[in-house]
Symmetry: C2
Subunit: 81 residues, 2 copies
């Protein structure tokens, strides 16, 4: 079983890294691009035979407590197979 | 129209950042987790009224030429609405 946790800044938080990427792309001629926001993701492999409900709980908790900073970031969890 | 480009190391490339996150999570008691690999993503907003085919081509090209380093990274592009 695998899970992915996507972490990005909340809409209201400035993202200077994304802005820089956006300016760079525009100056390289990618003129259809008007905004870029950058985020990170974690692809997590879970133990074979782990209880699915327990594993989901661990991932949700890890995302909230460790991987994201809920003050300025939001996250989304996705479970595969 | 929006697009997301997900960039991560190829399977064969070591990911020390992911390994560190994995060890940290395990030591915090998230014992169902056996591996973590970290990646980044770009959420790209495209100009209203941009030609969809042209915009897709720009994103695919930007992903391959600028956002990812094809020598060590792989990427996946996702288009929304």
């Amino acid at each position: 079983m695998k899970a992915r946790v996507y972490v990005s800044y909340k809409e209201t938080v400035l993202d200077p890294q994304g802005k820089t990427v956006c300016s760079a792309l525009q100056s390289l001629g990618y003129t259809d691009i008007v905004d870029v926001r950058q985020g990170k993701f974690f692809e997590i492999t879970l133990k074979d035979g782990a209880d699915p409900a327990g594993a989901r709980k661990q991932i949700e908790e890890a995302a909230h407590e460790v991987l994201a900073n809920p003050v300025i970031e939001e996250y989304r969890v996705e479970f595969l197979d």
